[in-house]
Amino acid sequence: MSSKPNFSDPAFINKLITQDHHAIELLIKTYTSHLFNAAKGMGLEDTQATELVQNTWETFFEIINRFEKKSHIRTFVFGIFYNKAKEYKRELGRINQNEPIDELLESQFNQRGHWPGQTHLMEPEKFAQASQTINIIEKCLSLLPVNQKMAFHLKEIECLQSKEICNILGITNTNLGVLLYRAKGALRKCIENKAR
């Protein structure tokens, strides 16, 4: 990707708006693999994942002239993708907006904010080995609720900023914190159980 242009450059965005083929191809060849991988990660079959990605791009080029150049173009792409994905995974539209992270945390720790006495966390080497086992990590990820998976994916695989993710998912920073906390906690426990 050495020839990748700066996608935030207004000149590049204008090329997209005027349907410049070169710019369109570059963008599609940069993000289609990301979108397809994310769609498969949500548990969609190949045909559905393909359709979702196609619909995303179709809509993208229909509304690109509405793109406000304030955010990164990938936020715009993933925002459309996420909205379309709701048609396939209805749970995505029902992200719990009100769960306070403090209560969630209270339930995991004792009154002084320490790990409960009986907590045992596995030796890190053993855990690392299980994490690198494709079957284990794949299985554990597949068990996550789809909205947690989406938040985890955007944050840790796409490495987007929290602000961008909140824009895409239409949630607050606190909501995102809850989703990530839950996703990572569940993944950690799942891997630990499978490593025993």
């Binding site: 349907q19 693999s33 990605v53 720790f109 790990w115 494709i134 990572k184």
Partner: protein
Amino acid sequence: MISCKEVSKILSENDNLSLLKKVELRMHLFICKKCSRFEKHLKSLLSGAQKLYRVKDNEYKEKVTHLENSIIKKLKEKNQ
């Protein structure tokens, strides 16, 4: 001194921290075995998830190339 509870929140959110918070976090991890293990677990699971993503990306390569070409073709036809 920050609590284990706060440490687990900071580690899960994985956001940019102030220098002070970073120092507090490192100090806590240095003396707390459970949190130190928790941090290592999170690092491992992230690297595992990223590895899975790369494996899948490779697996989907052919399908994705085909998909890219068909989307580009469709758009060209539409704009003609």
